[in-house]
Point group: none
DNA sequence: GGGAATATTCCC
DNA sequence: GGGAATATTCCC
């Protein structure tokens, strides 16, 4: 067990940095409070990759837009071949896009590979912590309760409403769990009785037959 | 959308093969019938890596045991540095171990890094399809509920944090409900069998006694 | 775009 | 060893 760690190599061979947690002294998955978290590795890497691209040549591959409110991948081919593997464990443009979608970025041009997220802007590294991964759950919230845009300021009434519904459902689920558990206990008790009955019956039968013979 | 594919590069740059699905013409996550599936990429790579190691030098790094019923990583350091990155997207021995555990391999020696799985044996590539990933069964309460005081959340995010915890707990409760329901179904089925058994036994007994009297 | 599977990481 | 988060892949 402890041996694993001894044997682990940190060669830092190349195309990625495995030491994200070192930088932020935190655990990527500690507690998921939506604000003020250390940003996800993906966001930091993407931000770094844009910051690094201050030379003219790299700007032809990927860069912020003029205002620094979105970014453009000018050359997806070079970006995939040269940039991605230096930051990630792959060179697939579509995997990069998948991550952008996961974190709520929007493609804002049909002509260019231009992506935007309210909290992802040049010079605002500290805002990255406010970008959260989309949850895959969603079944908890009825669709009609969801606000139309995720970027909206949270209307407190909706939120309270949601919370109340959640607590209600939660309470019911716990009650149901208790009932199910009791059902199981009953089932098991009955099972025992049946088995006892069967075994007793077999004994009786045996001796009765023996007596009769 | 379709453009993504056009723009994707398959450079085969180096440390990994992204084209598993090509070999098997199947989808890694198609239908999960327990038998006769195309094996998980991890299993194929690990098997390949052992098959490749027929030269004497690579046998000093990793090899099957004498009977071909388990395998040994003789040199974890070289294995991590040289072998792993040629098959996987990392060079961490512990990540490799994590995968072995996920697929149900057992460490069978305290002195060596020797691992065994009933369905993972030399010359039996076709058995790999019978090895399945372990399912992750979640406990109802998220781990982070156990530690009482977490990082100091701001008053505004406390509520959101709360909500997230609620959603998490909710999700887990639903999962547990399903499991309990299944337990009950099993219980009931067993009950039926026992009752049938009992009644049949009584019939037999009755007629036997009647005949004897 | 996003659902869902597998892979990798990090922690206990 | 395994839980759980993030990353990567593959498919619709």
């Amino acid at each position: 067990m402890a041996d694993n760690n001894v044997l682990e190599l940190n060669l830092g061979l190349g195309n990625n940095n495995n030491n994200n947690s070192n930088f932020f002294g935190g655990h990527a998955h500690a507690v998921q409070s939506p604000r003020q978290r250390c940003p996800a590795p993906f966001l930091i890497k993407t931000y770094d990759l844009l910051e690094e691209g201050e030379s003219e040549e790299s700007k032809q591959i990927v860069s912020w837009n003029a205002e620094g409110t979105s970014f453009v991948v000018w050359s997806p081919a070079e970006f995939s071949e040269l940039t991605l593997p230096r930051y990630f464990k792959h060179n697939n443009f579509s995997s990069f896009i998948r991550q952008l979608n996961t974190y709520g970025f929007k493609k804002i041009s049909s002509k260019r590979w231009e992506f935007k997220h309210e909290k992802f802007q040049r010079g605002c590294r500290s805002m990255l912590g406010e970008i959260t991964r989309k949850k895959c759950e969603a079944s908890v919230f009825p669709a009609y309760l969801k606000s139309s845009s995720e970027e909206n300021a949270t209307t407190s009434s909706t939120e309270e409403n949601n919370q109340q519904l959640l607590m209600e459902e939660n309470k019911n689920l716990k009650k149901e769990r208790l009932e199910l558990q009791m059902q199981i206990d009953e089932c098991k008790a009955l099972e025992m009785k049946l088995l006892a009955c069967l075994s007793q019956f077999m004994d009786t039968h045996q001796s009765k037959v023996r007596r009769l013979c």
